[in-house]
């Protein structure tokens, strides 16, 4: 147990190098990501569907001449996917070498925090928690889960043929 705590602790600390996070809402829950990964925030535009893609990949849109894939973050995290409307928001994020659009309900805050404010992830049996969540924040009695983005894109399968 203490080992896991240690690892978690280190991961948490590693993530809180930056002190600014963007908080956003999906469904009834709140999440946040390191602001350093975020390039811009855009409104929703209808995406061009990609054939045979996982359900959480909504398609691609044109971002000033670049083809940007849109990932329904709620669906990716295991929540029921919602039909996006004009009120939805796309967070354009940099994940490694790629730029990806994350579909969320709305952006709420920019939080400035220090490492000690991040608490370890509650020990719940959830795939989502294990894969994506790096910790939780308590802000104004809201629980905001800190998300790491590196797993968001689907794993590339090599062409079998």
């Amino acid at each position: 147990m203490s080992d896991i705590d240690d690892i978690e602790g280190r991961r948490r600390n590693n993530l809180i190098q930056a002190c600014e996070l963007i908080a956003f809402r999906m469904g009834s829950q709140e999440f946040c990501v390191d602001i350093m990964s975020v390039r811009e925030i855009r409104g929703w535009t209808k995406a061009t569907v990609l054939p045979k893609s996982p359900g959480f990949v909504r398609g691609v849109v044109n971002l000033r001449g670049t083809v940007l894939p849109i990932v329904d973050l709620a669906a990716r995290l295991g929540f029921p996917a919602a039909e996006p409307t004009a009120r939805h928001v796309i967070i354009v994020a940099q994940i490694g070498e790629q730029t990806v659009g994350l579909l969320v309900d709305a952006v709420s805050d920019i939080l400035t925090i220090t490492g000690d404010l991040v608490q370890p992830t509650p020990d719940v049996a959830s795939d989502m928690a294990k894969t994506f969540v790096r910790g939780v924040l308590a802000v104004d009695q809201r629980m905001i889960s800190l998300i790491a983005l590196d797993q968001v894109l689907p794993v590339c399968e090599q062409d079998a043929a």
């Binding site: 061009t48 569907v49 054939p51 045979k52 691609v60 001449g65 689907p154 062409d159 043929a161």
Partner: protein, 725 residues
């Protein structure tokens, strides 16, 4: 990067060019070219490399280049005959030189044994070899060689200015008599400067003898009447003195005597002397400025004239094989950026047109006409800009002769490579990715296609096998063929091997062409031993995939005992595409125009079922498989009604025809290709994406993948799996 490092980079770039020229020239000579300029060019290439290498202290390179250069010097001077054997040595030396250059550039090491052996072979070509006592090894050099290896050679004294004059005169006294001839001035030498030089050697007294100076009206302005006596006290030796005059040695009378008649001057006459000296130097400076130097006839009269004649004729002669349109060097980044910007321009122009149309602008109105012109102009700009980045395939083809030599040597086969169409141009983005597949196919052709010399002789073929590499433009694409005159595809072996690997049913009725194309299937290799040079069983499937990744196609034709021909067809650029815009299940797609043979509106009578959900359509008495694109791409689950759809007859890999079913055709357009992989990943059935006039992303169909996918598993089967899974 500091300046010298930048120049070093330039040097290595130049080396690559020179190495290319070297190989081309040697091959020409091997083919019988007897033009002296070809040999000269070859010599200059190695000479140039040696010169630059010396400046950067790349000793190994300097040494090997020097040995090579010497041999080439014998060749160009006619002392060595350009026989087949000699050329073979030269070509191998050229390969070795390339290795040494690259080792110098990348900090690697060379095969010293091979290098020394080649150096010895080159030295052995020296017609005077018998008289030289070489010990072998590259560090040893003869007396002749050592001259050129001295790092600094300036034929002027390298003294610090002035300091000598301050110290008390020491050393020996030399008596120097110097009488310049008219020719000295013809070379723009000046006595004053020489005397100044001399003064740096020590303490000097100069007397000018003006006794031969005639009266003004008899004075020949180009004559020389002055001579000087110089008493020089220096601790340098006679050689150092003569060195000052080294260059004018033949154009003057020079006596240097040690000690002796240093004119004993009385102090009283010293000032007098200095005055005279000054005056003579001034006269000297003034005189030759008028018509300076000899006339043309004087220079021509000297034994140097044959040199001039031959140089002039060399100048008149055009340099064959070198086209000389004016060129400039441009940073590749700038070109890439320009191309991207023009791509954006095209998209914006299309969007503007779209919006104008939606705004209800009448055709024929001023704005609509203006937009048409704008589209015309944009298209022209795009064509011009793409042409900037277009390069001849020569740069890739040029690497092949060496590859052929190496593979032939390794497999013990005798091979001749011929090329055609090296000047065919294609975008730089395509060229860069051509090298690997081309290399693989040539290796394959030699390793597997061509028979051993013995077997060829037994078959009545010439022992030397032929590999022909060609490139040409066809239907807006570039077609590259690699043909060999080897054994051809062993069809029974291929078929049984494919069956044994479960790739086909053992009794499947396959046409010859279909059998030949089996070699492209993954996991297929007929090599019973994994041949090291064909790269550990890297098969043709990898080659095909890299060609396909370029948007190209590859196929094979073969005749047993006669040989095989691989044909690659590639788009001219990876940046733009001519496409047909269609709708499929409500989605807009772009189909590459080059794949489309024709479009038609099917009649229900022409469509027939064929087992399960497979359908075929009759087109001009031929049965063509019907592929429902919407279903293939999972855009819809049901199948489309052909009579409410449009059929695109397409040709894919291996000249296979298929009928693609789409909802409607929206039009034809040239689109800018945007990568899907950049921010996402490869999607089966989709080659890339583009942005249409309405600003939305449209996917570009990968025709080959769709056709292959449709044939592999019938849609019904996939649906079944999906339902179950």
């Amino acid at each position: 990067m500091d300046a010298m490092a930048a120049i070093k980079q330039t040097f290595f770039q130049e080396c690559e060019e020179q190495l290319g020229e070297l190989e081309i020239g040697l091959l020409l000579i091997q083919d019988g070219d007897s033009d002296p300029e070809t040999v000269n060019a070859v010599f200059r290439a190695v000479h140039s490399i040696k010169g630059g290498a010396g400046a950067f202290n790349l000793d190994e390179l300097v040494h090997f280049a020097h040995v090579f250069e010497s041999a080439l010097d014998h060749l160009r001077a006619g002392r060595l005959v350009a026989s087949g054997d000699v050329l073979k040595i030269m070509l191998r030396a050229a390969d070795m030189l390339a290795d040494v250059v690259r080792a110098a550039r990348d900090g690697g090491s060379t095969d010293v044994t091979r290098r020394d052996a080649l150096a010895a072979e080159l030295r052995a070509l020296d017609p005077d070899a018998a008289s030289d006592d070489f010990v072998g090894g590259d560090k040893e050099s003869s007396a002749d060689d050592s001259d050129s290896f001295e790092p600094v050679q300036i034929c002027f004294n390298d003294f610090e200015d002035g300091s000598q004059n301050e110290s008390p005169p020491s050393g020996n006294l030399f008596n120097i008599r110097f009488s310049p001839k008219p020719d000295l001035y013809a070379k723009a030498n000046e006595t004053a400067l020489l005397l100044r030089e001399l003064s740096h050697l020590g303490a000097m007294e100069v007397t000018c003898d003006v006794s031969r100076l005639p009266m003004l009206d008899e004075l020949d302005p180009e004559g020389s009447y002055l001579s000087w006596t110089i008493a020089l006290r220096t601790d340098r030796d006679e050689a150092a003195i003569r060195e000052v005059f080294e260059f004018v040695e033949w154009d003057c009378e020079l006596d240097v005597a040690l000690g002796g008649v240093a004119a004993a001057r009385e102090d009283a006459a010293l000032d007098d002397l200095i005055e005279k000296m000054q005056a003579s130097v001034e006269a000297e400076l003034a005189a030759p400025r008028a018509p300076p130097g000899a006339t043309q006839s004087a220079a021509a009269g000297a034994p140097g004239s044959p040199v001039q004649a031959s140089s002039n004729s060399a100048a008149v002669k055009a340099d064959s094989g070198k086209s000389s349109p004016a060129t400039i060097r441009v940073d590749l980044d700038r070109v890439d950026r320009l191309i991207n910007l023009v791509g954006e321009l095209v998209i914006n122009q299309a969007m503007l047109t779209q919006q104008m149309l939606e705004a209800g602008l009448a055709r024929g109105s001023g704005v609509a006409n203006g937009l048409d012109e704008l589209e015309q102009l944009t298209r022209e700009i795009q064509d011009s800009v793409m042409a900037i980045r277009a390069q001849p395939v020569k740069s890739v083809f040029q690497r092949m002769p060496r590859l052929v030599r190496e593979v032939a040597a390794m497999t013990g086969k005798s091979v001749r490579l011929t090329t055609e169409g090296e000047n065919t141009e294609v975008d730089k983005t395509v060229i860069e990715r051509l090298a690997d597949p081309l290399t693989h196919m040539i290796r394959n052709a030699i390793d597997h296609g061509l028979e051993s010399p013995e077997r060829r002789a037994a078959e009545g073929k010439p022992e030397e096998g032929l590999v022909h590499l060609s490139a040409l433009h066809r239907s807006g694409r570039i077609v590259i063929e690699i043909a060999d005159d080897g054994a051809g595809i062993d069809r029974s072996r291929v078929k049984s091997l494919a069956a044994s690997k479960g790739l086909i049913a053992a009794d499947a009725p396959l046409s010859d062409e279909e059998i030949d194309n089996l070699i492209f299937l993954p996991g297929f290799s007929t090599a019973s031993t994994v041949s090291d040079i064909s790269g550990r069983g890297v098969g043709m499937d990898v080659v095909r995939r890299s060609i396909q990744a370029l948007g190209g196609r590859i196929s094979i034709r073969s005749k047993p005992r006669q040989g095989s021909t691989f044909t690659m067809s590639l788009p001219l650029t990876l940046a733009v595409l001519d496409g047909m815009v269609v709708t499929v299940a409500g989605e807009t797609l772009v189909v590459p125009l080059t794949a489309i043979i024709e479009t038609l509106q099917p009649k229900s009578a022409a469509v027939h079922g064929f087992g399960g959900d497979t359908r075929v359509i009759v087109i001009r008495d031929q049965f063509v498989p019907l592929i429902d694109v919407g279903q293939e791409l999972d855009f819809r689950s049901g199948i489309a009604d052909p009579c409410k759809s449009v059929v695109l007859l397409v040709e894919s890999e291996g000249h296979i025809h298929s009928a693609l079913l789409v909802d409607a055709i929206l039009g034809q357009r040239q689109v800018v290709i945007k990568s899907l992989e950049a921010n996402y990943q490869h999607v089966h059935g989709i080659a890339a994406a583009t942005i249409l006039g309405d600003g939305r992303v449209a996917l570009i169909l990968d025709v080959d993948a769709v056709v292959t996918g449709a044939r592999a598993a019938p849609p019904a089967f996939e649906q079944f799996c999906a339902a179950e899974g």
